[in-house]
Symmetry: C2
Subunit: 148 residues, 2 copies
């Protein structure tokens, strides 16, 4: 139940992205029962290839915690992380990741690649599919409207 | 020969990292025969899990070019990119990557993973092993001194 609660906070970030005409993907980082970082996709507005929700949240959390190891943190994100973001999770030693929708094109926590499978020097616990249809629908309706 | 010339610029960035007691890894981005971005590892000094040389260089280049697609750019980096950085290369649509030393632990352009193999929506051309021994020796002597 907690996972759904925090995923709703990530969805709120995704909705915020949509109001800026960004692809609606949001992320929050939770530690000790509180959100310590929240971010959404900023690629178009910031013209930043690194501007994924997870990257923004990880950068914030590291500043707040004062170190590069995000011990005790869980990352919630509405879409399965891409290789860049899954790699960032591993580099930041985030112990647990919960994502919403699966990404057939670039998912790197089980779908196209599984960077959490244990070949690297950190192996996060991963749970996918939390509020999956809600997270997926945000994306499909955004792209449907784009094509109009 | 040009690749070696630009790899020497990346090595200079790695040496700069070493003076700050950072792991000596450096990167430059070249476009139209000129360096447009240069960066080194900043993880320890900035306490930043995202502080890899490639990420710094990509962020700079995107600002300079004013967009998230780094068209016409080549990334030179002294060590094979990790999954985060290889993913960033793909997200930024960098057409060509040249790296120095291979990374047995986390290399994601052929060694542990090959994110450039064509499963994702961009497939950079990759050349590894340019000034390999020089790039590798920088790292091995840094870690040897660390253990003293």
């Amino acid at each position: 139940m907690d996972d759904e609660q925090w995923m709703r906070a990530a969805i709120r970030q995704a909705l915020l992205a949509e109001t800026l005409d960004e692809v609606p993907i949001g992320a929050v980082i939770v530690r000790d029962g509180a959100v310590i970082a929240e971010a959404h996709n900023t690629r178009e507005t910031q013209k930043d290839p690194l501007g994924h929700a997870e990257i923004g949240a990880i950068a914030q959390a590291a500043k707040i915690l004062g170190g590069w190891r995000l011990i005790g943190c869980t990352l919630y994100v509405t879409l399965e992380p891409c290789p860049m973001c899954a790699g960032a999770v591993i580099n930041a030693r985030i112990p647990r990741v919960v994502f919403g929708a699966y990404d057939k094109k670039a998912g790197a926590m089980g779908t196209v690649y599984d960077l959490a499978e244990g070949k690297l020097n950190h192996r996060p616990e991963v749970r996918g599919g939390v509020l999956e249809s809600e997270c997926a629908q945000l994306l499909s309706s955004y792209f449907r409207n784009k094509r109009k």
